[in-house]
Symmetry: none
Subunit: 194 residues, 4 copies
C-alpha cells in the first residue's frame, strides 16, 4: 500500500492560460519579437508574471505556443492526392489569412529563429505535424505510382513552404487564398513519374 504523492490544491487555470496566450498574440502583432514584453502581456491578461514563468520554460516558447494555437486542426477528409496534400498544410494558410494571424505567425517564426529553445520547439512541431505526415503521404503515393521513386523530403518541404516563409517573414506580402493548393499541385507535377 504505497502512499501516492498526489498533487493537492487547485489545477492550472485554463482561463488564465488562454488570456496569456491571447495577450502574447496581441503583443507580438503590435510590437514584434524584440520589443515583446512579458510585463505587457501580464497586464493585458490580468495575470501575474509568476503565472507566466510557472508554465512556460522561456519567453520564446510562449511566443511559439501562442502562434501554433492560431492554427486550426488539420482536415482529414481529402480523397485525391492534391486534397490530402493540401490538408496537411492548409492550417497555415488559414491562420495567416485571419485577423492578425499574419503578424503573429511572423513574429513567432522570428522568435523561433532568434531563440534557441523556441527554435527547437518549433522544429519539433514542424517535424511532427508537417514533415512526417508529408513523408508518409509521399511514400504512400510512391507505392501507388502517383509519385516518382526518387523524391526528397527536404525538396518537397521547400516547394510547399519556401515561398510561404519568404512572404510571411521578409516581404510581409499577404498569403493569397489557394496558395497552399497551388503549391500542392506544383509538387505533384514536379514529382510526377516521368
Amino acid at each position: 500500500m504505497t502512499k501516492q504523492t498526489r498533487k493537492q490544491g487547485p489545477k492550472r487555470s485554463e482561463e488564465s492560460r488562454a488570456a496569456i496566450l491571447e495577450g502574447t498574440r496581441e503583443e507580438l502583432a503590435e510590437n514584434g519579437w524584440r520589443k515583446f514584453s512579458v510585463d505587457s502581456v501580464a497586464k493585458r491578461a490580468h495575470a501575474s508574471k509568476q503565472t507566466i514563468y510557472r508554465w512556460w520554460p522561456s519567453v520564446g516558447t510562449m511566443c511559439v505556443d501562442s502562434g501554433l494555437e492560431l492554427l486550426p486542426p488539420q482536415g482529414r477528409q481529402g480523397r485525391d492526392p492534391i486534397e490530402r496534400l493540401t490538408d496537411i498544410f492548409l492550417p497555415l494558410e488559414i491562420a495567416c489569412r485571419a485577423g492578425h494571424g499574419h503578424a503573429v505567425l511572423r513574429a513567432s517564426l522570428i522568435a523561433a529563429a532568434d531563440d534557441q529553445a523556441a527554435g527547437e520547439y518549433w522544429r519539433k512541431w514542424m517535424n511532427d505535424t508537417l514533415r512526417m505526415p508529408l513523408r508518409n503521404l509521399l511514400a504512400e503515393l510512391t507505392a501507388k505510382r502517383i509519385v516518382r521513386r526518387d523524391w526528397d523530403i527536404d525538396t518537397a518541404m521547400q516547394i510547399m513552404l519556401g515561398g510561404f516563409w519568404h512572404r510571411l517573414v521578409f516581404t510581409r506580402a499577404p498569403i493569397t487564398e489557394g496558395y497552399i493548393e497551388t503549391q500542392a499541385k506544383l509538387l505533384l507535377t514536379l514529382f510526377a513519374p516521368e
Copy 2:
C-alpha cells in the same frame, strides 16, 4: 564660382564607425537579435552611445549595416553564364563561410524581418545588389537564347536564395562550398529553352 557654406567642426570618425560595426557583429553573433544591447556594443567599441545614435537611424539599421559590411565586393570576371550568375550571389556564400559570418548574417536577417526600418533598408540593398543584376543578366541571356522567354524574376530569386535563407535562418545548417554555383546551374537548367 559660388562660395559654398562649408560645415564647420570635425568630421565623422572612421575609426569609431568601424569599431562600432565590428562590435555590433560580435554582439549579434553572441546574443542574437532580441538580446542585442547597444550598451554592450558601445563598451566593446570604446564608443559612446551618443555616437551610435548620431549616425544610425535605428538599431536594426545598424545591425543590417554590420551584416552587409561582411560581404566582399561582387566579382566581375565571369565569362560563361554560370560564372556570371555565380558572381552576383557568391559574396553571400563567402561571408557565411568565414568566421562568425553565418551567425552575424542570420541575426541581421532576423533584425530585418522584425524591424520595419531595417527591413526596408535590407530590401533596398537586396533589390539593388542582387535582384536588378539578376534581372539584367537573365534578360541578356534571353536575347542570346540561353534562357527561355517566360522566366519570372521572383522564381529565379527563390531558386537562387530560397534554400539559402532557410538554412541560414531556420535550420542553422552551414552553407557548403559551391552552394551558390550549384543553384546557378540548377537555375540555368530549369530556365533552359525547351
Copy 3:
C-alpha cells in the same frame, strides 16, 4: 464590521529604505548637491534605481530625508527655560558634530534651497519641529513673565539658527559644543522683560 480591501503583495523593504538613505548621506558628504548621483546611491545601497524613484517623489526630497534622519529625537527632560529651549534645537547641534553630519546637513540644506519640492518638505519639517514648539514655549514663558510680551517668532528663530545656518552653509566652520545653549541664553537675555 466592514471588510476592508487590503492591498496585496509584499510590503516596502525597511532594509532597502535604510541602505538608500545611508548611501544618500555618503554621496552628499562626498560630492555635494550638484554632483550627487542617484546611480551612485543605488550602487552603494545595492538597491535598484526603480526602488528609489518608487518611494521618493524627487531626489531633493530624498536628500532632505537623509539629512533629517541624522537628527536624534528631541529631549523632553528640560526643567528651566534655558534647558527647555535647548531641548528643541539641540538635535541639530548633535547631528552636526557627529561623523559626516556637518557635510550631510549642509548638502541637505543646499538641496532644500535649490529644489522646489525639497524646499517645501524642509520648511514643513522646520515649522512643525522647531518653529511651533519654539512659539509654544515662548508663549508659555510670556505668561510666566519670563519673556517680554512683544517678542517676534521670526526674530527668535533668527537668533537661534541664523548663525548656525551661516556657519553650516557658507563658512563651513564647525559647530562648537554648546552653541545651541549659548544662543538659548542669548535669546532669553534679549527677550527678558525690561
Copy 4:
C-alpha cells in the same frame, strides 16, 4: 632693440563674454544650480563651449561671476553714518529687486555654498567688497565715538546680512525696499555707545 613678445591674434571678445554671462543668468534663474547646464548657456549665447572653458576655471565660478555682475557699483555719496553704511550693502538690495535678480543671486549663492572653488571666489569678493569696508567704517565711527568700542565684525555682518541670506535662499521671500537701510539703522542702534 629687443623683440617684444606680443600676443598675436584677436583679443578676448567682450561681446561673447557678456552674452555668456547673460545666458548663465537666464539659465540659473530658470533651472537653479543643480540643473544648470553649460550646453544650454553655450546655445543661448551662440558661443562655443570651448570659449566658456577657456575663460572660467569652473562652472561655479562662472555662476558667481554672473551674479556679481548684476550688482551696481557701490555709492560713495553718503554723508551721515547711516547713509555710508547703507552705501556698502545697497547694491545687493538693488540687484535683488530688479528682474530675475532674486533668483540669480540665490542660485549664485547656492553655487558658492555647494562648490569649493566658487565658494572661495565668493568669500573673497564678500571680504573685499563688504567686510573690509564695513570694518573700516566701523573703526572710523568708533574713533568718532558714534560706535562703541567692543563691536565685533562678524556680529556686524550677521546683523546686516543674516536675514538677507535667509530670505534670499531659504524662504525665497522678496527683499523689501529699504531693507538694507533698516538694518543699517538697527546696527547703529545696537552698536551705539551705552
